[in-house]
């Protein structure tokens, strides 16, 4: 088990290195002078020279890379051009709302989608099953921003149930936190519920045909326990895999959702940085999000061995 974990952790190092290289080259390989692009149309040549200096673009590329990696290893992702704050600081200021939104979304999606998919599989072909599948297709088809505004209009403006926008930290009280996070979570969850429910249904239908499910029936086990202990326990690996894929989708969804609900998270930071062409922030964020994604996938890989004792590399 330990060997497996160490191997998996070891395998992420080259992936991270490749990602870092790409992120580094992204700015340097931009056609034209990146400093001019960053400075915008109305910049003077002094402005451009200042930005070049600030980004260290005057040095040789390999030297730049070594310097950049050295700073990176020290946890220095660079400094924002416009706010003069370090990227690490910006990220740490904005990370809490995004992490909270991601957590509530994943938890809510799994809690809804897995039982939904399992019931659909158990009653395959029934009305319930068709309803779940219909919801699932709809969930894939509705864009996040449309759904967001519809939810705001109905739940906040017409029914006055929940705040329209904004974010409250759970440390300031769990009530306001939940009130503010509910709508974004609902909005972001729809596509995940669709995705995870479909995957759960597909794997559960397959597993329901397995001989060991028949064995469980032969033992006189009841349907509920068969569905949880024998079917879902064996469907865990594909379900967890799709959750991992979902987290990649989440990063895109967060940008839109945070804009719709005016949440000061990483998604908003991405948007603001792109609009301001603040390259160090963009670069730092891409790197940060990629590494987070790699780490989440690492956790998912390791969880396979926990869910299925046959998996040992």
């Amino acid at each position: 088990m330990l060997r497996y974990i160490l191997l998996r952790v070891g395998a992420t190092v080259p992936v991270m290195a490749v990602v870092a290289l790409f992120v580094f080259l992204m700015l340097r390989l931009t056609p034209g002078d990146p400093a001019a692009v960053i400075a915008g149309d109305y910049a003077t040549s002094e402005d451009i020279a200042r930005i070049r200096e600030q980004l260290g673009l005057n040095e040789a590329i390999p030297y730049q890379f070594v310097t950049w990696i050295r700073l990176l290893l020290q946890g220095d992702l660079g400094t924002s051009i416009f706010t003069s704050l370090s990227v690490t600081t910006l990220i740490s200021q904005r990370i809490e709302p995004t992490v909270m939104l991601a957590l509530t979304t994943i938890l809510f999606s799994v809690a809804v989608a897995v039982p939904l998919g399992a019931i659909a599989a158990w009653k395959a072909g029934s009305l319930i099953d068709r309803f779940v599948m219909l919801f699932s297709v709809a969930g894939f088809s509705v864009p996040v921003f449309v759904l967001g505004y519809v939810l705001i209009y109905v739940l906040s403006m017409k029914l006055n149930l929940l705040p329209v926008q904004g974010y409250r930290s759970p440390w300031q009280g769990i009530g306001p936190f939940l009130a503010h996070i509910t709508l974004p979570t609902l909005t972001l969850s729809v596509i995940f519920i669709a995705l995870i429910a479909r995957m759960t249904r597909a794997s559960a239908i397959e597993i329901l045909q397995e001989d060991y499910v028949r064995t469980a029936h032969a033992k006189g086990q009841n349907e509920f326990t068969i569905l949880t202990r024998h079917v879902l326990a064996n469907a865990a690996v594909p379900i967890v895999t799709v959750i991992g894929i979902g987290i990649a989708l989440l990063i895109g969804g967060v940008v839109v959702t945070e804009s719709v609900y005016n949440i000061p998270g990483l998604g908003r930071l991405v948007l603001d940085a792109v609009l301001a062409r603040d390259y160090p922030i963009i670069q730092g964020l891409i790197l940060f999000l990629s590494f987070s994604y790699i780490l989440i996938n690492l956790l998912i890989d390791i969880s396979y061995a926990f869910f299925d004792p046959r998996i040992r590399y």
Binding site: E210, Y212, A218, A233, F307
Partner: protein, 540 residues
């Protein structure tokens, strides 16, 4: 005499619309007494398993419905029970073990807990008491070191051990009736002998009624008290085992028993002397080499210094249990896997080391027929397309290839018109004939049959064996016949090679190996063959 434990009276079970017959099981009646073992024998599609599953209430509810009759379990009609009542009966009063111990256990649950689940469902015992009962049950089926096996997962156990776990699970609550659905069919012959002995022993000790489903008359001879023979959903004959086995009255029973290959090899003609078509010298195959992270990885010596020769018109049988290396040898000879060392001479030329480009022209000289005819034909291509694909790859024109294919269909006993059909439109035996035609279309010198008749019903098996013997003579083929079935080997092979753990332990003329085995393992294999005292049909 007290009432039987299981009494099936006039049971009929309907098939879904569109099946080949309206009833899966029609007017079936038989009973099983306490302390009695009743075998239900039949070929695939006979309704024997449907009958067993109806007793357990495990048939898919809409597709297979009991439409007439009653199934009395200790006087209670299980067909009239509610779902919760059925759940109580399953496990407490009746239990079942299945054909595939590999798949019948939940792969992500410890085996001890799977046995314990039975107690969790049906008793109020606490975890400690459950554990004690599980260990007792595991000891009862002679599992070694129950305390450590308790925490194993199914994939860590052998097939025989898994089937013992299934039996332990079935017996924890001491049910009155045990239903065994082909419980030894997927096991090696020596393991099968042990499991049969165990079932018989437990039945005697617990005084259980056992309903045993099988297709194998050898197994029937080994354990049955009474026998019911089923064909197309009906019981055609039933009675005490020794009467049925010695004086079968129904023509179908007679035909079935005549189809069981005898363990006594028939007299065989010596093939004409000719240079060997296939010669293998010092063949080795080692799986699992050390790679980047492979320091701790185990190596498996799947074939060790194997020598063999097959002449044109001759059949060499390679006999062994699973893991003996017999299939590895076949796969190396066809170069589906690369041998680690050794030479493979086909028509005098060594193909063991040829690269794919140089090997290609030699590929047609050696063809293989696999075990599972359901999976070895591409379901999306007509059988005609499958047959002509090979020759056309070697430059034959479509018209000529198709003409040859039509001829071959007749050789293998099928209609040439059937070339336009798809594999799913044929039965298992017909598919295996198609696979043979496909192999013959390449005009090979060597034909390898890798368990080619093992998945077939006995009556079909006999026909396919006849076909193989016929094409071998007609095309002067050298045949390498891989099998685990000693009866089949006795009937078709001129010479036999017995393998174990990758090594050849004995090699000789079939009649010598069967009549006077030298190696202990060969003797153990022959002793384990079920029903060896029965002569069945003499070789004809």
């Amino acid at each position: 005499m007290s009432a039987p434990v299981l009494d099936i009276r006039g049971l009929s079970v309907s098939l879904p619309k569109g099946a080949d017959r309206p009833l899966a099981v029609e007017d079936v009646s038989f009973s099983v007494d306490a302390g009695e073992l009743v075998c239900v024998v039949g070929e695939s599609g006979s309704g024997k398993s449907v009958t067993a599953f109806t007793v357990m209430g495990l048939n898919p509810p809409r597709a297979l419905r009991a439409v007439a009759g009653e199934v009395l379990l200790q006087g209670v009609d299980v067909l009239k029970q509610s779902t919760p009542a059925m759940r109580r009966l399953r496990g407490e009063k009746m239990a079942m073990i299945f054909q595939e111990p590999m798949t019948a256990l939940n792969p992500v649950m410890k085996v001890g807990e799977q046995i314990g689940e039975m107690l969790e469902i049906h008793t109020g015992l606490g975890p400690a008491k459950r554990r004690a009962r599980v260990l007792e049950a595991m000891r009862d089926v002679n599992l070694p070191e129950p305390a450590s096996l308790y925490h194993s997962y199914p994939h860590q156990l052998s097939g025989g051990q898994r089937q013992r776990i299934m039996i332990a699970m079935a017996l924890t609550l001491e049910p009155a009736l045990l239903i065994a659905d082909e419980p030894t069919t997927a096991l090696d012959v020596t393991t099968q002998a042990q499991i049969l002995a165990l079932i018989k022993d437990i039945q005697r000790r617990h005084g259980m009624a056992v309903l045993f489903i099988t297709h194998d008359f050898g197994v029937v001879a080994e354990i049955a008290d009474r026998v019911a023979v089923m064909c197309n959903g009906r019981v055609v004959e039933q009675g005490p085992a020794d009467r049925i086995l010695t004086r079968p009255e129904d023509p179908y029973t007679q035909m079935l028993m005549a189809a069981v290959p005898s363990l006594t090899p028939p007299a065989r003609l010596q093939p004409k002397p000719a240079p060997p078509a296939l010669e293998v010298k010092g063949l080795n195959k080692i799986y699992g080499s050390s790679g980047w992270f492979g320091r701790g990885r185990r190596q498996v010596h799947a074939a060790q210094d194997v020598d063999l020769t097959v002449h044109p018109g001759e059949t060499l049988g390679v006999v062994g249990e699973s893991g003996s290396g017999k299939s590895t040898v076949a796969r190396c000879v066809v170069r589906l896997v690369d041998p680690t060392s050794g030479t493979i001479l086909i028509g005098g030329q060594d193909v063991a080391r040829l690269n794919e480009r140089r090997l290609r022209p030699r590929r047609r000289d050696i063809q293989i027929v696999f075990q599972d005819p359901y999976r070895s034909l591409n379901p999306r291509r007509t059988v005609g397309q499958s047959i002509i694909e090979g020759p056309m790859n070697f430059g034959m024109g479509a018209a000529k290839a198709l003409a040859n294919a039509r001829e071959l269909m007749e050789v293998v006993g099928l209609l040439p018109e059937a070339l336009d059909r798809f594999p799913h439109q044929f039965s298992g035996g017909q598919r295996q004939r198609i696979c043979i035609a496909r192999a013959l279309a390449m005009e090979p010198k060597v034909l390898i049959a890798d368990e080619a008749v093992s998945a077939l019903d006995v009556s079909v098996q006999a026909q396919v064996l006849d076909l193989l013997a016929d094409v071998r003579a007609r095309f002067d083929l050298a045949m390498l016949f891989i099998t685990h079935d000693l009866r089949v080997a006795a009937q078709i092979c001129d010479r036999i090679m017995v393998m174990r753990y990758g090594q050849v332990v004995e090699q000789g003329l079939t009649r010598d190996v069967f009549g006077n085995p030298h190696h202990d393992y060969t003797r153990a294999l022959l002793d384990a063959a079920p029903g060896r005292e029965m002569s069945f049909a003499s070789a004809s």
